[in-house]
């Protein structure tokens, strides 16, 4: 059992019994390998459901926007940054959330494990420190966990929660020698035609299911622009223009807000690397404003502030 599991259960028990919170949002064991299911525990006698493991990749800040009650929530580095953004955007008040910070070792990408197994089906995947034991019918493999992390986790520089009420374990060392934008620079180096082709190919198999959008904690608009129907804002077909419009607008709508938690990519049933859109904008915001989304609560994010000394003159 992961060391955090006991801590989470203990905290949940305490917070619920003392009526500090109405519910605890965390994860429970999944029904398929390498998946954990978000769960909301309301009674102290149910805290045994809560677990922690390397399959808790979904961003739980997604379950916080516009809540009326008081909840405790387990939060990885990225989840905590999205909580900060929720606070900045008035989606929830600080006194409504009790943050159980989970210093994170990165989350496992099951697609990478599938790819490695080349068609052999994993029936059980167990984590043991830095290794993953994967077994199925007639095989067992021990893999190096680090090599099977989600792409975003491999380059993550905020594994420790940036805001919390309790930490579930000692802080982990932050990765400092990572190049976050190698892939973005590769795309930037293409000519415009090459870039056009690159992004069109990327989304060619998109089925417009919107799992990427709905898995994102930033996408809380009461009516998304793609759902505006009176009049229709964006075409609903699988015509490349419509699909492209969706992806480009979604990316711009999360510019300066995206924490690169990877939930969108994790959720996509067609395995589309949708972070390729958001990462470029993340890089721009960092280079233009020196800003990383959701790292500090104080101050306003660059894209919702006006400064007279703005370096660009088009706005003056």
């Amino acid at each position: 059992m992961h060391a955090y599991t006991e801590k989470i259960r203990e905290a949940a028990q305490r917070l619920l019994t003392e009526k500090k919170v109405d519910a605890v949002i965390g994860f429970r064991h999944g029904t398929v390998p390498m998946m954990s299911e978000p769960v909301c525990v309301r009674h102290a006698d149910q805290v045994h459901q809560l677990v922690w493991n390397g399959f808790c990749g979904i961003n739980l800040a997604n379950y916080l926007a516009k809540r009326k009650d008081r909840v405790a929530v387990t939060a990885k580095g990225c989840d905590s940054r999205n909580i900060v953004i929720h606070l900045q955007e008035n989606q929830i008040r600080r006194d409504q959330v009790y943050i159980l910070g989970a210093p994170c070792h990165g989350m496992v990408d099951r697609r990478k494990v599938w790819e490695f197994l080349k068609g052999r089906e994993p029936l059980q995947v167990m984590e043991n420190g830095s290794s993953l034991k994967v077994s199925g019918k007639g095989f067992e493999e021990v893999l190096e966990r680090q090599a099977f992390l989600q792409d975003n986790c491999r380059i993550c520089t905020h594994r420790n929660p940036v805001i919390y009420d309790e930490l579930l374990g000692d802080p982990v060392p932050e990765q400092t020698d990572v190049d976050r934008y190698e892939d973005v620079r590769r795309v930037e180096a293409m000519d415009s035609e090459g870039r056009w082709r690159y992004f069109n190919d990327l989304i060619a198999s998109c089925i417009r299911c919107y799992a990427c959008r709905n898995a994102c904690p930033l996408c809380y608009c009461p009516t998304c622009f793609v759902d505006e129907s009176r009049p229709q804002w964006v075409g609903k077909t699988l015509d490349p223009t419509d699909t492209r419009t969706f992806h480009l607008l979604r990316a711009f709508h999360v510019a300066g807000r995206c924490t690169d938690c990877g939930s969108c990519e994790r959720a996509c049933p067609m395995s589309i690397p949708v972070r390729q859109f958001t990462k470029k904008l993340e890089k721009d915001v960092k280079e233009l404003y020196g800003y990383e989304a959701g790292v500090v609560v104080e101050g306003r994010p660059p894209l919702d502030t006006y400064r007279p000394d703005d370096p660009q003159d088009f706005i003056k």
Binding site: H29, A211, A215, P269, S271
Partner: protein
């Protein structure tokens, strides 16, 4: 009915001849999954897949189909008249479809072809499509076809059932259309008893490997809305993010939306996949939404599959146990678990 055996090296020749007379659709590796696509070279067929990511329902019920076009030009004698846009409705053979996915077509037939209404495109595509199925030797751990009235070698919705044997394929005709396909196969020879025994054995093994997870009969007896207020929906719905993954991947989800796209004086009327998971799905023109809450939407999906469909058509359930939604739901909402809750009204946490 006709049963023949075709050695592996002769399959491409047989399939090649089918391709001369019909469009052939088969699973093709695309990215990290498989998908049914038009295949024009017999050596491109790849039966080593377990299940396609998207179900083959897209072959009969395309995700976005332009149904009609119209003109709005003043003075145009055809202004305001819907004209059918020509569609490829000719003969097709779907090779290597899984028995569960074929069964799904049968389940959806009752919705698109009724006494009152007939969907012409669904009906014609179905009529002109021959299904050559591939039995599953090795069902995935997420498959549960035998719990919902089908099975890994269920030939009930197929025209031909193929069994993959070490040296070749056993091809068994199930319908007249299937028989016609096999009658014209000089590559094959009548199947020997050894081949038939070998195939039966494989089928039994596969069937035995699948667990029976729940019994739907007690649910059939209950009043239609008996489960409506059950407390377990609250638990089931929590994690759901209301995306369209489960319904878009599902072979039996048939819901669609109709939209007009108008550019200046020309318009097309489209039919697009829709999903009961989307809030817009039930939004009325008045602004009222009878399924405004996530809980209502999640409940609808499961109630439709296991209760409403069953009650309405005396058939079903409207799930074939393909396991796609189990595997790809981004938050691991597992229909097997929900069905177990619905049938036993059990709320025990796992």
């Amino acid at each position: 009915m006709l049963k023949i055996f075709v050695p592996k090296d002769k399959m491409p020749r047989w399939i090649g001849r089918i391709m001369d007379g019909a469009r052939v659709f088969a699973p093709v590796k695309e990215g990290d999954g498989y998908r049914f696509r038009l295949v024009t070279r017999p050596d491109k067929l790849d039966f080593s897949y377990q299940n396609t990511r998207l179900s083959p329902k897209e072959l009969v019920h395309p995700p976005a189909e332009a149904m009609f076009s119209y003109s709005l030009k003043k003075g145009d004698p055809k202004a305001g008249i819907l004209e059918e846009i020509p569609k490829a409705l000719g003969t097709r053979v779907v090779m290597g479809i899984r028995p569960c996915d074929a069964k799904a077509f049968q389940l959806v037939d009752v919705n698109f072809v009724t006494d009152q209404y007939m969907d012409p495109w669904w009906q014609r595509r179905r009529q002109n499509t021959v299904l050559v199925g591939l039995g599953c030797h090795e069902p995935c751990s997420t498959c549960f076809c035998t719990s919902v009235g089908s099975g890994p070698f269920d030939a009930g919705a197929l025209d031909v059932l193929m069994t993959d044997l070490p040296e070749g394929y056993l091809l068994e005709a199930v319908t007249e259309a299937g028989r016609a396909l096999l009658a014209d196969a000089p590559e094959g020879a009548p199947a020997s008893d050894t081949v038939l025994t070998e195939a039966r054995f494989l089928a039994q093994q596969a069937e035995k490997a699948l667990p029976r997870l729940f019994m739907l009969d007690p649910l059939r007896e209950k009043a239609m809305t008996a489960l409506f207020q059950e407390a377990f929906w609250e638990e089931v719905q929590f994690a759901c993010i209301n995306c369209g993954t489960c319904t878009f991947l599902c072979p039996t989800c048939w819901c669609f939306d109709i939209q007009d796209e108008v550019h200046q004086q020309e318009g097309v009327r489209l039919r697009l996949w829709d999903s009961c998971m989307f809030p817009l799905f039930t939004l009325h023109g008045s602004g009222h939404n009878p399924r405004n809450q996530k809980l209502q939407r999640v409940r609808q999906r499961f109630m439709h599959k296991f209760k409403y469909y069953v009650d309405k058509y005396g058939n079903g359930p409207a799930c074939v146990g393909c396991g796609r939604c189990v595997q790809y739901c981004p938050v691991n909402i597992d229909i097997r678990r929900v069905a177990a809750m619905m049938t036993a009204s059990c709320v025990c946490p796992t």
